[in-house]
């Protein structure tokens, strides 16, 4: 019998995500094996068990997926996998905790595209603010945006300290320069967006973060992207399917456009599918994280 492709799905949480299960199946993996409550210390052993059990013919048909909720931990686990490989017993690994890497990559790539095509601007010339910036998608968005050159601020809706701690931790880890701020009240939000070129909204589903009143105070806004698909959406006036439609409430920012959750979701979906397939198609093992996700997302948009 021909060997089947196997994806070993490692997760520090109690359960893997059904989202990733559906995506992995639809990308063509024959068999999925979930491993839940995995600790960083376990990754080395699990990886070696995965590589030493299939023989040379099975190696290209074997891969590891890393889920969870914690971005830093996922990156650490990805690195632990990499260190456990013993060439030629080496397989591809893809980390996408909470789907945050692919969602954030899709969001930033969509925003960057609108920035270039409609405003003729580069990321490096822009100021960006991430609302809901301390959640997993928010952090990944901030890091990708900052590494792409935008001067990016992570915000938290409850605590400036939380935002600052997160920004510091990820600046150290990825060598970027994220700023931090509190975005609790409308006054604080207005101050943050007054001179922002880009707004990312990655807050909790079903919560409106930026109302028409706040958006009116944006003076040089160019593109706003929202990943919340559950009404009310995060940014008032953005429809979920919008991809570059005028942002009607940003009346003092001529030409400002919005990208909605379904537009971002569509790219994210293609992106995650592409990266999963890549692990089945590649000749040489790949280690995929948000950086690879962003590169691919740029190609897709």
């Amino acid at each position: 019998m021909e060997k089947r492709s196997i994806l070993h799905m490692l997760d520090p949480m109690t359960n893997i995500s059904p989202f990733d299960v559906n995506m992995a199946m639809d990308a063509g993996f024959d068999v999925l094996m979930p491993y839940s409550s995995v600790k960083l210390d376990n990754v080395h052993g699990l990886t070696q068990d995965a590589i030493f059990s299939r023989g040379p013919a099975g190696i290209p048909l074997t891969a590891i997926f890393i889920g969870g909720r914690d971005l830093g931990l996922a990156i650490d686990m990805l690195n632990a996998c990499k260190h456990a490989m013993v060439p030629p017993f080496e397989i591809s690994v893809f980390a996408d905790p909470s789907g945050a890497f692919t969602t954030a990559a899709a969001l930033v790539a969509c925003v960057e595209k609108e920035l270039k095509t409609l405003h003729g601007k580069e990321m490096k010339d822009c100021k960006a603010v991430v609302f809901g910036g301390t959640g997993s998608v928010g952090i990944a968005t901030g890091v990708i945006s900052a590494l792409a050159g935008a001067s990016t601020t992570l915000t938290d809706h409850l605590s400036a300290d939380t935002a600052l701690d997160v920004a510091k931790a990820y600046n150290r880890r990825f060598n970027c320069e994220l700023g931090a701020a509190l975005a609790g009240s409308d006054a604080e939000k207005i101050q943050l967006i007054a001179d922002a070129d880009i707004i990312y909204c990655t807050a909790k589903a079903g919560v409106q973060v930026l109302s028409a009143v706040v958006l009116k105070q944006a003076k040089q806004l160019k593109v706003a992207g929202d990943v919340n698909a559950v009404p009310p959406v995060g940014i008032e006036g953005i429809k979920r399917s919008h991809f570059g439609a005028p942002l009607i409430h940003a009346v003092n920012s001529p030409g400002a456009v919005g990208v909605g959750a379904l537009a971002v979701g569509d790219i994210k979906y293609q992106l995650q599918n592409t990266l999963l397939k890549l692990m089945l198609e590649t000749d040489k093992p790949l280690y995929l994280d948000f950086r690879d996700a962003f590169m691919k997302a740029r190609q897709i948009v």
Partner: protein, 302 residues
Amino acid sequence: MEKPFILHMLTTAKNLSPFDANMALDAGWIHALSYLNVEPSEVQGLVQDVIFSRSLKNLQRTGIFIGGRDTKQAMDMLKSAKRSMFAPFEVSVFADPSGAFTTAAGMVALAENELITKFHTTLEAKNILVLGGTGPVGQVASVIAAQAGAHVRMIGRQLDKAQNIADMCNNEFGEGKITILAGVDADKAEYIKTTDLVFATGAAGIELLGAELVASAPLLKVAADVNAVPPAGIAGVDAFQNGTPIKGSNSGAVGLGAMAIGNIKYQVQNLLLKSMIHTEKPVFLHFEHAFEMARNYLKPVA
């Protein structure tokens, strides 16, 4: 290439039941993935991960199964799953904690069938004693029978506990439209005098109704027992009995054993799992649907 059928199987327990895994795969689901130790509060997140990760066409090839041990929790999880979906991003969901929904449905439908074919009557206004009735199968059998018009008394070892569970069944599962009464083991001899049907749904290997009580039941028509481990839950009803007279019954009652009930339970669970695959429009299945399916299955082909 057609995408595979995926069933996401949620349980509050630390393991999925291999029974349900086998049933799901044999019903035609290609992949059955388990999610363990699921807290009811996590259902929304899991369900939304299910619905937002496949195209609408492939959502028709996707389903959710809710297992666990607790009937009320499973019903709450089913409701929560339904509330977490937005048309057209919907998939079918089927709750069958401990297999209790399909077991109870199979037992009540079989008993009803005996009433119709051998006694020319129905469940309407019949007095039913549900022995060991506070467990999952007893609860659900009580609710299904009460909804079908029977007067049900749930028997437990402690009256206050039985009463609480009967109240919960009336309010949560019966939406206040049914009235299941409670009783204690010690009063069985009294209740049995007016009982038409007995369901024994207690723990395996415990006799819940002895030969003396079987003989002293003047109205008894059907006695069903889900216990497959000797001694039988009802004296004179063996595991393979399927509608033959109970030795020692003075009223000509017939017995239904665990194997007969198990067979229809199996058929019903299989058909419900299949119906999730073949439906165009998402379905949300629980004990009521299981009972409907069991009745249809037993209905003589015209």
